[in-house]
Structure formats: C-alpha cells, structure tokens
C-alpha cells in the first residue's frame, strides 16, 4: 500500500501469509526429521506426499471444481492398482513363456514367477522403462473406464444419493478383489514385477524422484485443465447445473468427462503405489485411506484450490508420519487413561475436519475467483473496447 518501501512491505506481507508460514515450518520439520531419523523416513513421507497429491488433485477436480460428491475415490485407485497388479506382469510372463493365465495370481506360482520377471527387467533398462510407462497408461485407461461406469448413476442421482452409491461402489470393488483370487490374488497379495530393480541400491531414491516428477506433471496438467474454458464449464456445473445447461453446457457429458479424467489420475496413483510396494492386496485399499483421508487433505488445503491441495497433503502426510513414528514415545502416556495411541491418526483426521469446517471453511489456500483469461489480456481488452 505505502509507496516508500513497497518492496520491503511486499516481502514482509509475503512471508506473513499463512500458506508461506506453514510451508516454511513444514520444511523445518522435514529437515529435522531428516537429521534425526535419517533419509528413509523422509523418503517415505515424500512417497505418501506424491501418491496422495495425485489422488487428492483428482478428488478436487471432481468435488472442488465439478461439485460431484465423490465419496468413492478408492474405486479408481483400486482400478489402477488391480490393473497394474494383474496385467503388465502377465503380459511379460506370456512374453517370456512363463505361466500367465489365471494361475499367475495363485500364490504358489506368483511368488516364483514375479522375481524372474523382475530379474528380466533388471537386465534391460529399455524394457523396464516401457514396463513402467505401460503400467501407468494402462492404469489411466482402466481408471477412465471406471470413471465412465461411475458416471452412469451420476446422471440420474443427485447429491447424497450419488455420494452413497459411489461409496458403496468402492467397497464392492475392494471385496470383489479380496474374494476373487485370479484377479490380484484374493486374500493373499499378488507380487508386482519391479521396474526399478535396475537401480538397485538406489531403488528407493529412484522411486521417489520418479513419483515426484509424475506428480509435478499431473499438477501442471490439472492446473492448465482447470484454467481453461473446460475448467469454467466444470465450475458452472458446480454452481448451478440448471443455468449451466441453459448456457449450452451438456451437463451429462461434462460430468462424465470430469469423472473420467479424475478417475484416470487417481488410477495412476494406485498403479504407482503397487509398483512402489511391489505387491497388490485388495484389502489394503480401504475407503478410510483412499477416500476419507484425501477428503481431509482437500478440505484442509482448500476445496477447489490445486495449490491448497498440495499444501494440505504435505502438512497432513507429514503429521501422520510423525504420529506413526512417535506415537508410543510421545503419546504413550495416553494409555494411562485407557487411550491406545494407535487411534491418534483417526483422531487427527476428525480434528482436522472439525477445525476446518468451523474455523476456515475455505482451507489454507482458498480458491481464487479470477478470470480464466490471464489478467493482463483482460485489461488490454478493457482498454481496447473502452475506446471503441
């Protein structure tokens, strides 16, 4: 505001902003964790951060931008995870002349075949890269297909009804995978060939860097997608679907597109996750982890705000990791009152949601209302049309 030391005041204004303060504090905490606990905890946090940033960005696309009550985020994550658990390994096994039919997922066969496949990938960098990229593309396609399927009830159902049917749909998939062995091993895990074995010794680091790069690319994609006439159409649907229809937007088509893109991205996260863990178990994909936590991340960060999502995920994944590591050391005293520190994580999620709803409903970085066309261009247009 003042003209005298504008730069200095702007700088101090910048550093006093809530999101900047939180980011700086988080970086300090992460540095401290790196120093006190070594690099592996930090890498674990970064992997969670990468995976859940993608999942939450995809959730935000559907919820924050399009207004779809997506309580079944886990569906698409499962689609990606199952696809990568079930298909690329089989294809490679078929290629190598190893068992690849339904028996591929039987534990007695699977634990012998997959290490052989990983060996093959370890010896051939090109094949490893192709395997990885193919897995991601496959996951995205399966996710998009599931998104399309989920969009069918989305045409007829509204709000709560749609939310609950998406939620039920997600549980259905988890239990189907859990009980039908040939897909991904049923109750026992199916192993996933490891395209990162080629950098053995630095596998963890390579995985983290790769995932962060994919996350960055997806962030840039989502940013560009939402800052476009398509993004505006999504927001129109969210704010009033009747008015959007009258303004020429095909409500069914736009909603379907949003669900397909969001689900494809979430599926990429699911696929990368099973490549990272090297196994795929149906029962691991709970709605708590893959639907409700992403909702908490999104609400904390700011619904409809891509940058907010990133900060929300970083803040909460870090806190969750700290709780996991230190819960007995720091919170062991809780057992005196009969509280098991194991439950702290759930308490954190509840607390975050309540605090956000009560005190900052727009999140850490609220979504900005600004023109789709870059401001500079609009201002030029203003000048030009004012003369005319």
């Amino acid at each position: 505001m003042t003209t005298g030391n504008g730069a200095a005041s702007r700088a101090s204004e910048f550093f006093l902003r809530r999101e900047v303060l939180i980011t700086v504090a988080l970086l300090l905490v992460l540095t401290w964790l790196l120093v006190s606990r070594g690099v592996s905890l930090l890498l674990t946090i970064l992997i969670d951060f990468a995976i859940f940033t993608i999942v939450t960005l995809s959730l935000n696309l559907e919820v924050g931008f399009t207004g779809i009550p997506q309580f079944g985020r886990v569906i698409a994550v499962i689609a990606g995870a199952f696809a990568v658990g079930a298909i690329p390994g089989r294809l490679l096994a078929w290629f190598m002349g190893l068992p690849h039919g339904l028996s591929y997922a039987e534990d007695a066969v699977n634990y012998k075949v997959v290490p052989q496949l990983s060996e093959v990938l370890a010896g051939n960098a090109f094949l490893a890269v192709v395997f990885f990229l193919f897995s991601l593309v496959l996951a995205a396609l399966c996710g998009a297909a599931i998104g399309w399927l989920a969009s069918r009830p989305a045409i007829r159902l509204r709000e709560a009804y749609l939310g609950i049917s998406l939620l039920a749909f997600g549980d259905f998939f988890m239990w189907a995978g859990h009980n039908w062995e040939p897909l991904v091993g049923g109750t026992t895990a199916v192993f996933v060939p490891d395209p990162f074995r080629i950098v053995w010794g630095y596998r963890f680091q390579a995985v983290v860097i790769t995932m962060l790069v994919v996350t960055l690319l997806i962030y840039l994609y989502v940013e560009r997608l939402t800052r476009s006439p398509f993004g505006r159409a999504l927001r129109m649907l969210r704010d009033s679907d009747v008015a959007a229809g009258v303004s020429g937007k095909n409500i069914v088509r736009v909603r379907t597109q949003s669900l397909m893109i969001g689900s494809a991205l979430a599926a990429v996260a699911g696929g990368m996750y099973v490549i990272y863990t090297g196994t795929c178990t149906a029962i691991g994909f709970t709605r708590l982890t893959w639907t409700f936590w992403p909702w908490a991340y999104m609400m904390l960060g700011g619904i409809g705000s891509n940058a907010g999502v990133v900060l929300g995920v970083l803040l909460l994944t870090t806190m969750r990791s700290i709780i996991t590591v230190y819960r007995f050391k720091l919170f062991g005293f809780l057992t005196v009152w009969g509280i098991d520190p194991l439950w702290l994580e759930y308490a954190l999620m509840g607390l975050v949601i309540v605090v956000v709803v009560l005190f900052m409903p727009h999140g850490l970085i609220p979504a900005k209302v600004e023109p789709i066309l870059p401001l500079g261009r609009v201002k030029k247009a203003l000048e030009r049309t004012a003369q005319g």
Partner: protein, 254 residues
C-alpha cells in the same frame, strides 16, 4: 407465417395444479413479444417447458422449424434459443466476466484442447471483447473482476440479461429482466434490447412492469391461471376488459 417460435397446446401440471394449460403462442422473427400476467399465472413454467428445464405433459414446442419438445437445455441452446431466469442463477464461484463468457462458445471447452492454451486463447480474447461490451450495456462493466456473489439483487438481474445476450442466440427469452431495476435504467436497457432486433434477434420477454415494457412490445400475450386470456398489439391487450379485470382484481387483493 414467419413464426420463429411456437408452442402448440402445451400443458404442464404439478400434481393437481395445472400451471400451464393448453397454451399456444407464436413469436414472429425479429419481434419483441411480451408475455404478461399476474404472479402465479404460469409464465415462468411456460418458459421452463420451452427451454428444456422442464418437460411438458402434452403439446409441442417448435423453434426455427424444428420440434424441440423435451430437448435437453444444451440442445435448445445449440439450436439458438437462450433464456434468463427470473430468480437469478449466477455462477457464484466465477467472476462477473466469466459468468458472461460461460454462456458463449469456446473450443477450449473440450478437455482435449483445454490444456493446450494456444488452441483457445484467441477465441477467448474475442469473447472477452464481446462480453465487456455487453457488460457495459447493462451497467456491470465496472464489476467485471468481482465474484458474482458480490453483486446486489438488481445487478444479478442484469447479469442474467447479459448472459442471455451473449449466447449468440437467435431467440432470447427474458424472464422479468428489469425487476428491481430503477425505471430510468430499465428503460435504457429495454431500448438497447429492442434495438438489437435490427441485427436479426428476436425477443420473448416476460415482464411484470407493464408500464415500462409495453412501449417496446410488438405483440403481447396475457396469461391468467395457466391460460392465454388475450393477445394482440399492446394497446389492444392492455385495454382488454379481461386483462384489466385480472390486474385490478389482484391489485385490490394486495
């Protein structure tokens, strides 16, 4: 006849209430056709049925030679018919400018082209020029960068009008566009709107404030209790005893 738009015996009921009863109207090309009638006479419902917001129970809706009965709203829009809402339905999370831009077409609405900003930026730029011009006409240009939730009631009405005008439609249907606007600005806006007839546009306007709107009308339909009770040039309809009775009757009741 040179009707661009017609309804044929359209009926719509809500439960036992027949809101629109056997209504047949016609709108001539490049006319300013007015639809009047007391509150609750079924005007908004008729527009909803004509623009895909509601489906008629019976009857036909014809536009530009095509039978558009029961078409979804976006298809009606694509055919060249757009409407505004009596109770404004703004996109609250968008700027005033983007509210108007949203009613226009842009190739960047395709998700495949959307990330390639160069494929739609120029088009958007043209749309912005048009939108700013329309916003200026309805007195909202100063507010272009505000979120639409910051607007007052009368301004939201004008935003509705701006959206209707920007869509590039052949027939623009306005549901009580000047409600809550002061008489001088209302007159200014209606004269701008009726001036657009010369560019080939047609208007069907529902208006409660007959005194302000009637001078612009070429033809008037009067509705009561879901039926058309009178039609003709404004002078005739406004002096029709049936119309006077309906209005006087309601006024006394108030």
């Amino acid at each position: 006849m040179d009707y661009i738009f017609q309804t044929e015996k359209v009926t719509k009921s809500f439960g036992g209430l027949v809101a629109v009863n056997d209504v047949s109207i016609g709108v001539k090309e490049q006319s300013f056709t007015m639809l009047i009638g007391p509150n609750g006479s079924g005007k908004t419902t008729l527009l909803n049925v004509c623009t895909g917001v509601l489906r008629p129970d019976r009857g036909k809706v014809l536009f530009g030679g095509a039978d558009i009965t029961g078409w979804a709203s976006h298809r009606v829009y694509e055919a060249g018919l757009v409407r505004s809402f009596q109770i404004p339905l703004p996109f609250l999370g968008l700027t005033v400018l983007d509210n108007v831009l949203g009613a226009m077409r842009n190739p960047g609405e395709s998700p495949l082209r959307a990330p390639l900003h160069r494929s739609w930026l120029d088009h958007e730029q043209d749309n912005v020029d048009k939108a700013l011009d329309i916003l200026r006409r309805v007195g909202l240009a100063r507010h272009w960068d505000q979120p639409s939730f910051a607007l007052g009631a009368a301004q939201l009405k004008m935003l509705e009008v701006a959206r209707g005008l920007s869509a590039g439609a052949k027939l623009i249907v306005l549901d009580e566009p000047i409600g809550g606007v002061d008489p001088a600005s209302a007159d200014e806006i209606l004269s701008y709107v009726s001036g657009l007839k010369a560019q080939g546009l047609t208007f069907l306007v529902v208006e409660h404030r007959i005194d302000i709107a009637a001078p612009f009308a070429d033809y008037v339909y009067a509705m009561d209790l879901g039926r058309i009770i009178s039609q003709g040039p404004p002078g005739e309809v406004l002096n029709d005893p049936k119309v006077i009775e309906v209005y006087v009757g309601r006024d006394e009741a108030c």
